[in-house]
């Protein structure tokens, strides 16, 4: 049990390392609107939906923290919205049929919207986004919508891949 936890932690760190590397080294080079893809968010949603909600929350925290520290941002800037997103999606998925693609799509888009709204709010709070409140909401809403759609597009291959491997979700990792 303990060895499995350590293994899970190591794998989580490795995935976070890979995801943060992809986001910081590649995404900013994409042309618009592809540069709006948020690999941390996509990876968080994937882990919360397809692995386990607890795993998704932990993964979101590590990813967000790693990204914030690596980029010299305010620590918590990325981890708070990601953790919230993973938690809400993780809790909501019990209420819905996880086997149905529409459910999965709905959760993904909802998570994206939530993440972006919280993210932009924190940005405004720490002064990174010098916008008025209504502008902030408008910007957050537009970006969240775009990211939600892009997350759905990015999550589709992961979902299809998962469907080919297993017919049922695991309850937890160990």
């Amino acid at each position: 049990m303990r060895r499995a936890s350590i293994g899970t932690a190591v794998i989580t760190f490795l995935w976070a390392w890979l995801t943060v590397s992809v986001e910081t080294s590649i995404v900013f080079r994409f042309p618009q609107p592809a540069s709006s893809v948020n690999p941390l968010l996509v990876a968080t949603l994937s882990s919360a939906l397809f692995v386990a909600p607890e795993y998704g929350v932990g993964f979101a925290f590590i990813c967000g923290l790693m990204s914030d520290i690596a980029l010299g941002n305010a620590v918590g800037l990325r981890s708070i919205p990601l953790v919230l997103c993973a938690a809400v999606v993780g809790m909501a998925q019990d209420k819905l049929s996880r086997e149905h693609p529409v459910t999965w799509m709905l959760l993904g888009v909802m998570g994206s919207l939530l993440h972006d709204l919280v993210y932009f709010s924190i940005l405004g709070l720490v002064g990174y986004l010098p916008l008025l409140y209504d502008q902030l909401i408008k910007t957050a809403a537009v970006s969240a919508l775009a990211n939600g759609i892009l997350s759905f597009v990015c999550l589709l291959p992961a979902y299809l891949w998962w469907r080919t491997r297993t017919r049922s979700f695991p309850d937890r990792l160990d």
């Binding site: 590397s21 992809v22 080294s25 909600p53 929350v57 520290i69 620590v75 809790m91």
Partner: protein, 275 residues
């Protein structure tokens, strides 16, 4: 029971992580936390993958860009090829004009050196099989040209008019086997007979009319004016080789014509000096 326990654990975990993040955020906003040591470690750990991804992305992006640009590059390449072809043609034309200009300038300079009335003419025809025999020029009797007028190249005598029509004339070159004229060695003043040959190297022959060693290699041979066809003093060529005649008395040998007879394109015709 199990789902509620699981959900409780999830909420507990979320709250703990959010609290940590929020405290860190507040500390950062207050300027309290300096995450530089952790940042250094994480950046060092991220560096290899970031670099690998960046290099891979740039490589892929460059190839994608190349594929995107392929059609444009093809069209541009075609256009450039056409332009290069046009430029080549222009360059050839330019070279031709420059060469013609050079020839005409040499003829003009030469015509100023001689004291006869001359007219410039362009070679318009030549027998490709009898390369050194006759040429046709684009000036004739309408321009004042008459039979036996002397014809000059840019450096000296090349022949004489053997037939003149209204707008063109036939010139027999001094290399023609039928050609024979009276010359003089400029230094020794000895008279020679200059004759055409059927040689293929462009050289013509001479026979000295005086006995003894009168001719040296490199001597300049000019027209004597005694034949009554050519005015005196026109350069014919330089002595290329000298030997004794059949009887061992007089000099004989070969002359290199002053003007290259193989590549004549423009000539000067001395008007009114012929008989």
């Amino acid at each position: 029971m199990r789902p509620s326990r699981s959900k409780l654990g999830l909420i507990r975990l979320t709250v703990v992580l959010l609290l940590i993040s929020a405290v860190a955020l507040v500390c950062f906003v207050k300027g309290f936390v300096a995450a530089e040591p952790a940042g250094r470690i994480i950046r060092t750990a991220l560096y290899p993958l970031q670099r690998a991804f960046a290099v891979a992305y740039e490589g892929i992006a460059a190839r994608v860009q190349l594929i995107r640009d392929y059609e444009r590059i093809l069209a541009e390449n075609e256009l450039l090829r056409q332009q290069v072809q046009e430029m080549r043609l222009l360059l050839v034309k330019y070279d031709e004009v420059a060469a013609e200009n050079e020839r005409l300038r040499a003829l003009h300079d030469y015509s100023e050196q001689i004291s006869y009335e001359t007219i410039a003419a362009r070679v318009i025809a030549r027998d490709p099989h009898g390369w050194r025999d006759h040429i046709v020029i684009d000036k004739g009797t309408a321009n004042g040209i008459a039979k036996n007028d002397a014809v000059l190249g840019s450096h000296g005598l090349i022949g004489r008019v053997v037939s003149a029509s209204l707008n063109s004339s036939v010139v027999m070159l001094i290399s023609d086997p039928q050609s024979s004229l009276s010359g003089r060695v400029q230094d020794s003043r000895s008279l020679v007979v200059v004759e055409g040959t059927d040689r293929t190297d462009g050289l013509i022959r001479f026979d000295c009319l005086e006995s003894g060693d009168k001719v040296q290699v490199g001597d300049l041979v000019i027209t004597s004016g005694l034949g009554g066809v050519f005015p005196p003093g026109l350069p014919i060529g330089e002595v290329y080789s000298v030997e004794k005649d059949f009887y061992g008395i007089a000099d004989t040998g070969l002359i290199t014509p002053a003007s290259n007879l193989l590549s004549i394109e423009s000539v000067l015709v001395i008007i009114g000096a012929g008989v």
